[in-house]
């Protein structure tokens, strides 16, 4: 089946990001397709490469980047939510006059249309949040 996933909370603070990750790993193992993972609200904070969690804990951001690379996952960060919260890629940095960016490998910034499209195209939409 074609599954889409929405992640609405940032890493560590809420378990939503962990549950979404574990769900996706299990779905891939069962042979399903992940159409897209869309990060909204504080979920955009999953996409910062500046995170350095304690060494005895999971690295949530890197885990997403690695899963994306291994399975060609489409990790989309909502541009409007990201602007509010300070998640930027090089293009966004230029457009908004910022001196640096912080997007992690494997993530791309795009519009809310990508979420609606996921809802239309996928057989199921799963929402993880607080």
């Amino acid at each position: 089946m074609k599954l889409a996933v929405m992640v609405n909370e940032g890493p560590y603070t809420h378990q939503a990001s962990d549950t979404a990750y574990n769900f996706i790993v299990a779905a891939l193992a069962a042979g399903h397709e992940i159409f897209r993972v869309f990060f909204y609200h504080d979920g955009v904070n999953n996409g910062t490469r500046l995170s350095t969690p304690p060494q005895d804990d999971r690295h949530i951001v890197n885990r997403w980047s690695e899963l994306s690379k291994a399975h060609d996952l489409d990790l989309v960060v909502c541009v409007a939510a990201a602007q509010r919260r300070g998640i930027v890629d090089p293009d966004e940095a230029k457009r908004n006059g910022k001196d640096s960016d912080n997007i992690a490998p494997g993530f791309r910034i795009s519009g809310l249309g990508q979420l609606i499209e996921a809802g239309i195209q996928a057989d199921r939409l799963l929402v993880f949040g607080d």
């Binding site: 929405m6 909204y40 609200h41 409007a80 939510a81 509010r84 519009g111 809310l112 249309g113 979420l115 609606i116 499209e117 809802g119 239309i120 195209q121 939409l125 929402v127 949040g129």
Partner: protein, 135 residues
């Protein structure tokens, strides 16, 4: 994307305490361009989003309540409000902002968008959907 799906946006939180209602509205407005079969449901504390007379000047937040009035222009014409949620909170339909849409097939007559429905009716509507979002 020729397929048409039934989308329901469920609003369950009060305004201003969190950004979910505001960012939820942004999804609905963008979603309108995709010409799906769309409706919104306001249940639990979500009914407070439609309360008349919101004034955020002293709190310094953005008053996004006028956006609800624009929903009709975006062809979001079915807005369900759960009767039990209103009653539990001491509210009546008169407390809500009047939301309307213009019916192209009826000489652009202005018609109310809000429908007060029972929990049972809402349960039936939920069952009919293809995709459900929560904010």
């Amino acid at each position: 994307m020729s397929e048409t799906k039934k989308f329901m946006y469920i609003n369950r939180r009060p305004p201003y305490g969190t950004v979910y209602p505001l960012e939820g509205l942004e999804v609905v407005l963008i979603g309108a361009a995709f010409e799906q079969d769309v409706c919104m449901a306001f249940i639990s504390d979500g009914v407070f989003q439609l309360k008349q007379g919101q004034d955020t000047i002293e709190s310094g937040m953005k008053n996004f309540s006028p956006t609800y009035r624009a929903l009709g222009d975006y062809e979001v014409t079915r807005i369900y409000v759960e009767r039990e949620s209103l009653e539990e909170r001491g509210l009546t339909e008169a407390d809500l902002m009047p939301l309307t849409w213009e019916d192209e097939d009826d000489d652009w007559a202005e018609k109310p968008s809000i429908q007060i429905v029972s929990r049972t009716q809402l349960s039936d509507l939920l069952e009919e959907q293809d995709v459900v979002f929560n904010f």
